[in-house]
Symmetry: C2
Subunit: 251 residues, 2 copies
Amino acid sequence: MPMTRIRLTLAYEGTDFCGWQVQPADRTVQGEVERALATILGRAVRVHGSGRTDAGVHALGQVVHFDCPDGRTGFPWQRGLNGILPRDVRVLDAAEVPDDFHARYGAVSKTYEYCLWHERGFCLPQRRRFVWNCGPVDFARMEAAAGLLLGEHDFAAFQNVGTDVDSTVRTVTEISRHAGPTAHESVWRFTADGFLKQMVRNLVGCLVACGRGKLDLDGVRVILEAGDRTLAPATVPPQGLTLVRVAYGEG
Amino acid sequence: MPMTRIRLTLAYEGTDFCGWQVQPADRTVQGEVERALATILGRAVRVHGSGRTDAGVHALGQVVHFDCPDGRTGFPWQRGLNGILPRDVRVLDAAEVPDDFHARYGAVSKTYEYCLWHERGFCLPQRRRFVWNCGPVDFARMEAAAGLLLGEHDFAAFQNVGTDVDSTVRTVTEISRHAGPTAHESVWRFTADGFLKQMVRNLVGCLVACGRGKLDLDGVRVILEAGDRTLAPATVPPQGLTLVRVAYGEG
């Protein structure tokens, strides 16, 4: 039977999910989307994401695809799925795409943002699910360290165990700081051709260690060159992290 | 025994609270703060708020006061309370104030903000607890209606039943529109010398009816002059509303 490939752009709040990837006993984003599609299509459908996000990590622009029977051409996927999905996952966009589109293999870059809270005395309840309270930090020190991490490097020191990869070399094209939604926050944007397991949270851990004066630029160079995870600062918590965009090549 | 009066500025996310005011069986903000104070002081303490907020309504600047034994001068109230309170209530500021300070009777004005979501197809999961999705509206029509509501009026048509007041005359000094945290939102700020029960949510209902073209300026004038709640549009949902500031007179 001929199939139509559909691309969805998803937003989700990761708080109550055990991450993206479907698991037998846990509530996951992939599991919820596949369940909603099964309701519409009357059969099981596999959804392919651009990549996994961990438990507690959010998305504003996760891209996924699935194949459905050709007869569904013109089906209102956004409305149909949003009518069924729980409110912590939403379809922002749905489109029919060529058969050679692949959410994972076609991705040429990803952008994540990590939101830091800098006020020790309190964290606003309204922001608690979306920030990590790291206290006061020196932004200039963090930005100097970010400069060392930009470009093509072997990021083995910033990869957590658990996923096999052919290479730990990645090219980071952007690490930039932005104003947060309140004056107590800063947002750190990371763009790369791909990220290793928990790489953004490990990079943020490194930058915050610099911002706290616990690590200097020479220390960052040593960690990067040694490629030894045990030398690098700890992985920071998931709730500050959001997958904001996945970019695909032309055509 | 001599007492010291303490003023607290509180933020809370209203989602999981049955409002501000203590109730025997329900979880309330006042109940949580009084429970935390009882833990610190070893006895029951009554906390006085600037006013009640309804179930689901948030605060960024609720002001409250309580009296505690004089010997507690210098106690670190912010740290002490934030160490005990649940994470959906935080003390932003704590200060010793003169005995004649009163959170409710001393308030000279209050500012609320109501956040509207304007995209019918979806509401971002990250914003769902803080907005009401009213769909597309005409801001110019809403602002024209806001102009009629500014100033001193009898707001009887915008008061819900349930609280006895001496007068339903209030002076609204500000209704202004601001950009929201995403491009899909607008934030409407209301300042007055005081608000009647659910008055902000009723004013927003009126403005949105205008923005949707369901009500015109003559209609707003008729509602305001008739003072008849049944003529005015319905109360909008609580989760878009935040108490942002309570102002007190000099000295």
